[in-house]
């Protein structure tokens, strides 16, 4: 039997005009943890989705245990012993843990049998779950355990984990990665997709680095250093990309621009998402929000941006607050509209009478110029722009549209290093110009790099722990900080 559990060779994949993968390769040895490293947009997830049969490669080969394979769908990959734990959980919220794990089986479905099998597997792997709990009632960490059990329940010999620490607190992340090491000690293979250098160096045996869809470095983790990996990931492109460490600027009590007092928000289902939150954001400061997804940060951001109504409490915000939502495709832009039409969205609700298209066109062209948006003209459709350029336009529209306050939700999501740097620069510039800025990112590093104040949201309550990694991590989990 081959030493290499999974080999992907010269994989090429194109989506229309976009080349996602260009001759990418990976060789994962059996019994190891293999880290697949790369910045956002490098092609890591695409490569692994091909390995899992969710996508077909345009060219290249896949070999499992030395045998060439071709996967028409995940069913084939699962049959070949490959399991995948996805970044965005592939669980059915309305169904129970048992039903989710049993999904994809054959024949008749006996709830009691399934339940027993799950409890056995759970004991064997040390991942505790309650088979009759409904997914939508479980916190992110528990849901991830279910995802992992689902992957392991099918006689999996190669386990792919896609950014598994993205939704976890620092403590939970460490536990998960340790668990991955335990799993491979039994002869299985784990492939860890991550953009976090430190995790790769600490927990992996081998590392493969992808940049712009190609493999640029591969070898033993013991032979790698932070510098070599960074150089491989970025390709020596120094575009001022280092996240600037912000020193605490003495905010001489600038005016309060955004103010929440005892604000509570109850959602449509009657669940309280924010509990008596009091928060003030001043002109010329950046407040960062740290939270584990689902703890109320989504609601907090939208209340601050004036996009969500509160059930009780006092909200004092300017008439127009700039908002950069996480899902830019759906919430920030109308993909099939031109850039000019998208800029026209600004203030669309209060406009009366006739649209002054000439003026809006001029405004759009200014934005394109000032914010370095790579687009032929203002009549181009938003859809034809790259993610980074779309985001630059959104950032420009929102900053210019408000001038006083800006709320950003995962603003660098899905962007490469250059675009991320550009967005960060804009956010800092907005702060320098005296705007009140609130930024949330599921990447704690990004929050700490930009914000001088950090507040934590946990179970709908807001606290402000000391501005350092450990304390914030504990606060995110609702643990006492000391």
């Amino acid at each position: 039997m081959s030493d290499v559990a999974l080999e992907l060779a010269s994989i090429t994949k194109r989506f229309g005009r976009l080349t996602a993968l260009d001759g990418a390769s990976l060789q994962a040895r059996r019994g190891t943890v293999h880290a697949l490293l790369g910045e956002n947009g490098a092609g890591k997830t695409t490569l692994m989705r091909i390995a899992f049969g969710m996508l077909r490669p345009d060219s290249g080969s896949i070999a499992v245990d030395g045998t060439d394979r071709s996967f028409a769908s995940p069913a084939d990959a699962i049959a070949a012993g490959i399991g995948m734990v996805h970044q965005h959980f592939t669980l059915v919220p309305a169904m129970t843990v048992a039903e989710n794990i049993a999904l994809g089986g054959r024949g008749s479905f006996r709830p009691t049998q399934v339940r027993e099998a799950i409890l056995a597997l759970s004991a064997r792997t040390g991942l505790a779950v309650d088979p009759s709990a409904r997914i939508e009632d479980l916190p992110a960490g528990a849901q991830q355990r279910v995802e992992i059990l689902k992957a392991l329940s099918r006689d999996t010999r190669i386990l792919i984990l896609d950014e598994p620490t993205a939704v976890l607190t620092p403590t939970e992340s460490r536990e998960l990665l340790q668990k991955a090491r335990e799993l491979v000690s039994n002869g299985g293979t784990a492939i860890l997709i991550t953009h976090k250098l430190r995790d790769a160096l600490e927990f992996a045996d081998d590392i493969t680095v992808l940049r712009r869809g190609s493999t640029v470095w591969s070898g033993r983790a013991s032979e790698a250093t932070e510098e070599t990996l960074v150089a491989a990931m970025l390709g020596g492109e120094r575009t001022g990309a280092e996240m600037q460490r912000v020193t605490a600027i003495a905010t001489d009590r600038n005016a309060t621009v955004l103010s929440l007092e005892n604000v509570s928000v109850r959602d449509d289902g009657g669940v309280e998402r924010l509990r008596s939150v009091t928060l003030a954001v001043h002109a010329g400061e950046i407040v960062g929000i740290a939270a584990v997804e689902g703890n109320g940060q989504r609601e907090l951001l939208r209340v601050l941006a004036g996009r969500m109504r509160v059930t009780s409490g006092d909200v004092r915000i300017p008439a127009v607050v700039g908002f950069i939502p996480e899902d830019r495709h759906r919430d920030a832009l109308i993909q099939d509209f031109s850039l000019r039409d998208n800029v026209a969205l600004l203030g669309a609700s209060t406009r009366r009478g006739v649209m002054s298209w000439a003026a809006i066109g001029r405004q759009t062209r200014e934005l394109i110029r000032d914010y370095d948006v790579r687009a032929p003209d203002d009549l181009t459709r938003a859809r034809s722009l790259s993610g980074g350029n779309q985001q630059k336009l959104v950032v420009g529209r929102e900053i210019e549209g408000s001038q006083t306050a800006l709320v950003a939700e995962n603003p660098s999501r899905g962007l490469d290093v250059q675009a991320t740097a550009a967005v960060h620069a804009r956010i800092l510039a907005a702060r320098d110009a005296g705007m009140a800025v609130v930024i949330y990112s599921s990447d704690l590093d990004e929050v700490l790099a930009l914000a001088e104040r950090v507040v934590v949201v946990h179970a709908g309550k807001v606290t402000e722990p000391p501005r350092e990694y450990e304390s914030i991590g504990r606060a995110m989990l609702g643990l006492p900080v000391s």
């Binding site: 996009r307 109308i334 669309a348």
Partner: protein
């Protein structure tokens, strides 16, 4: 009058209700509202116009027409408002509610023309003729072609301008294409905007019914709409939901229906063939549009 001339007149006569209902449907679809109830709204408008036409004193002259048309617009708006309210308040799928309302409108009209509004001899299921003051003037002497066609074209042009240049039109378009971005980035009250578009759509379809009664039938009877509301869907989609395009496709389908009627009379091919062709047109438009979208969409 030559045969071609007769055909053109018939075509434009058929086209008038199709252009107006096509406009109504295009407007609704543009706003993201699946108004399949143009037929029921048409019937409501026709009923209201007929009721005005047989109830007003003859002495008020052409004022009768104005009142009848306004009544038709209001009736169509109300009929659509029922579905709009069910949609925004209860989340009822408008495709189902508007179709249900089509049936209810049909039975309502049937009841009226066999009951309270029936002509005095109580023999035929229809109203008596509307007063002459409620008739739409003839456009082309010696034919049945009336000014309703001009109203149709004028409405279409107005609708095109509003969609393209007015703030309201922009809000409607944005809400229809992407309600999420409209709400989040544009702060648009999507619920109110789409309800407004829905009701306006009904008003326009009601106008079509009122014009049909005031210009062609001069009375209300059962089956006043031979399915205009459904043909309107083909008219609207083929025009790419563009109000100006609707003029063209409305005339095209007017020609189709005229030809179908002739075919049935002369060759015996059932006139329902026209509805088959209309349905195929809709399917073809959907298929082409979707194939284009599928090629462009990238998934990663």
């Amino acid at each position: 009058m030559t045969e071609t001339m007769a055909f053109v007149v018939d075509m434009l006569l058929h086209a008038t209700p199709l252009v107006i209902t096509g406009l109504a449907v295009a407007l609704a679809f543009r706003a993201g509202v699946w108004n399949i109830g143009a037929d029921g709204q048409f019937i409501a408008g026709a009923t209201a116009a007929a009721w005005v036409g047989v109830s007003v004193p003859a002495g008020i002259g052409w004022l009768a027409l104005i009142i009848a048309l306004i009544a038709g617009v209001i009736a169509g708006a109300i009929w659509a408002a029922i579905a709009a309210w069910l949609r925004s308040r209860f989340g009822v799928l408008e495709v189902i509610s508007t179709i249900m309302l089509n049936f209810i409108a049909t039975y309502g009209a049937s009841f009226l023309v066999r009951g309270p509004l029936q002509e005095p001899t109580h023999v035929y299921p229809q109203t008596s003729g509307i007063v002459s003051g409620a008739h739409i003037p003839i456009l082309l002497g010696g034919t049945r072609l009336h000014w309703g066609f001009v109203i149709a074209v004028a409405l279409a042009v107005a609708a095109w301008w509003v969609m393209k240049y007015s703030a309201t039109g922009f809000r409607v378009r944005a809400s229809g294409v992407n309600p999420f971005a409209a709400r989040s980035a544009g702060l648009i009250d999507v619920s109110r905007v789409t309800a407004f578009a829905f009701v306006t759509s009904g008003a326009i379809a009601g106008m079509a019914g009122a014009i049909e009664v005031s210009g062609v039938t001069f009375a209300l009877y059962e089956n006043i709409s031979p399915g205009y509301g459904y043909t309107a869907i083909a008219v609207a989609l083929l025009a790419g939901l563009n109000p100006l395009g609707v003029i063209g496709t409305g005339i095209l389908f007017g020609a189709l229906e005229t030809a179908a009627g002739a075919m049935q009379r002369n060759i015996g091919i059932p006139s329902t063939t026209a509805s088959v062709i209309e349905a195929i047109v809709i399917l073809a438009v959907i298929a082409i549009a979707q194939l284009r979208t599928n090629r462009v969409t990238t998934s990663a």
